[in-house]
Subunit: 413 residues, 2 copies
Amino acid sequence: LEVELISIGDEIITGSTIDTNTSYIARKLIEIGLQVTYKSSVGDDIKKMEEAFYHSLKRADIIITTGGLGPTDDDLTKRAIVRVFKRNLVFHEDILENLKKRFAARGIDMPAINQNQALLPQGAAFFPNRIGSAVGIVISEEGKIFISMPGVPGEMKIMTDEELIPYLEANVKREYLKVIMLRTTGIIESALAEKIKPLVKLSESLKLAYLPSYGGVDLRIISRGLSQEMADELAERLADQIRKTIGKYIFAEGDKTLEDAVGQLLIDRNETVAVAESCTAGMLAGKITEVPGSSSYFERGAVAYSNRSKTELLGVPEKIIEGFGAVSMETAEAMADGIRAKSGTDYGVAITGIAGPEGGTRDKPVGTVFIAVSSHKGITSRLFRLSNDRQANRNRAVYAALEMLRRVILEIK
Amino acid sequence: LEVELISIGDEIITGSTIDTNTSYIARKLIEIGLQVTYKSSVGDDIKKMEEAFYHSLKRADIIITTGGLGPTDDDLTKRAIVRVFKRNLVFHEDILENLKKRFAARGIDMPAINQNQALLPQGAAFFPNRIGSAVGIVISEEGKIFISMPGVPGEMKIMTDEELIPYLEANVKREYLKVIMLRTTGIIESALAEKIKPLVKLSESLKLAYLPSYGGVDLRIISRGLSQEMADELAERLADQIRKTIGKYIFAEGDKTLEDAVGQLLIDRNETVAVAESCTAGMLAGKITEVPGSSSYFERGAVAYSNRSKTELLGVPEKIIEGFGAVSMETAEAMADGIRAKSGTDYGVAITGIAGPEGGTRDKPVGTVFIAVSSHKGITSRLFRLSNDRQANRNRAVYAALEMLRRVILEIK
């Protein structure tokens, strides 16, 4: 079965919005054994949309579009569907009633323009939209399934989870597929490849991909088999070999993130953490608390941007800042000890650095970052030399700090 | 001129990575009058890559690919290029020397696998890679330009800015195009459309798009003309009408973000800000400090996740937390006053809320967020009722807080 995802909108084609929708859908599809083969995007141009829909109906069996279902003039998906499938639009009273209720609940008068959203192509089924105004459209014809969902990420996600996936599970015969994701950190892609390559005999039915990101490199195994058991076995055999060879770099498997993994370690040990940040300025605290339930182990954070705040919030002695600089191993260690002492947590993590673009010196160029972890086991600190890119440096520093905390908790050298 | 962007990699097709590269490139291209018409993605599958390259050479004049140039086995872009353009690979001594130097500077032995990266298709030019190991590949043939760049976002960005854009400016005849972006906040898409629709006569040469995001709705005008002057005039005329009608919702124009706009207001007034966060836990501080130079107006942040830390860090009286709850207007106001008093800044901004998925009650369901801004002008506070989605709630609260701060600074009601 060939699956094509089409994202629609000038905002995507012109790059003013990043398309996160098709990634989300692809990830959910692979979990039910449907692998996306084609992905494409078109702008808000009805002719290009028609072209794209025709092309997709030729090469794919399941087509899923996102975007272009809103009430404003540039939302043309429905009109393109009507032309391609040669159907009329039919008014749905129940959809309009629901819309009116939604606006009333928010205390807003429904702009008349929203009435368009109660029109659907004749013979189409629809996916309800629990949090927004545009319903999903489902057309099943001549063995092809064509589905259009709204482009607002929150709406698309809920609709994918609650409507799309159950619909496809019920209506599509799928492949036997197994996906295993091994998430590594602390080792670069080419070094990983040199260690793993001798182990692996890849084929059409067994694929291994290296997926680098700020947090590390993910290894994704995808296998296919004549039965689910065969696919499972093929993937598991390779995963085991990799686990044996580079196991210490693997911090989690599957969807679990580094912040999830660290959170779980703290929960298991009934321990707590607080953080002190300078150049990352809250991003580490923000990342740790992306995990639901993190309030059970995350106590507080201090964003000590000014020197004065480093002294006031964290008790960093002024003479350390004067003697070694606000960006130094000594300051990082004093920040980590300070936040741990003030908050009474088991671990204190501190980051100080020069994110850029300004502030670099000969000795401490942009990208210089010191990270320290304080605990009853003592203090661990490290210098990182990152890049010239402000936001990349801040992101990398956050993940490096999480990884250092993980190692201190697990007592890995 | 038709432009196609192709992003390559299983990580994109399977959704484990979000493709930010093509958005970046599209945004840069539009600034030099090149509008992307087609965007597509293929996995690490050499046949599908060849298909995609052939198809793009048929329908587009300029093709830009990202990804698949790394040293590992799944990086197949170069092999697909060689097949499609029927060329051999040629070894470039200078590229290898550069690579060796790069690894030496980082104190790492170059894995032998990286030698592949010194091979280029015969007759191809290349874009140097200042921060990574894969160079860009440039083939110009029969009026078509085919360019491949690495997929690592940091490398792709620098190569786009320093190599791709200058190359295209020098080698391509472009359209006369004008883009104006008006960024609004505090009004929903359909309400905006109702106000703007009567003003606008759109056509093939004048387009208006509504681009909603967490921060608000962007209005993007794109015009075309027979000369640059005509394109400019067409776009400016519409922009002026829109500015007159809904000007108070426009916080910035162009690439400028809400955090940029607020930062500029503070710099202009020589004023400072500090923040106190509970449910957003550092994300507001992180957002404010995305702006280079923000240290001149951002003093500190307190991530007061536990009740104890709200009292210790911000001086919120225990009886307020006990009487009204940690998530209440009273607590938000006490947090904002507290951080302003402790830090001595002109403004104190506080956020407390229930991000979810747990912690909601009948009176204060998930999505309930209180935001307060304290200044010498007094205190302003507001209740927001957001959604069920933890991360969306946190993002929206950050932008809502920035928007409230903007209004307090400008004394807009």
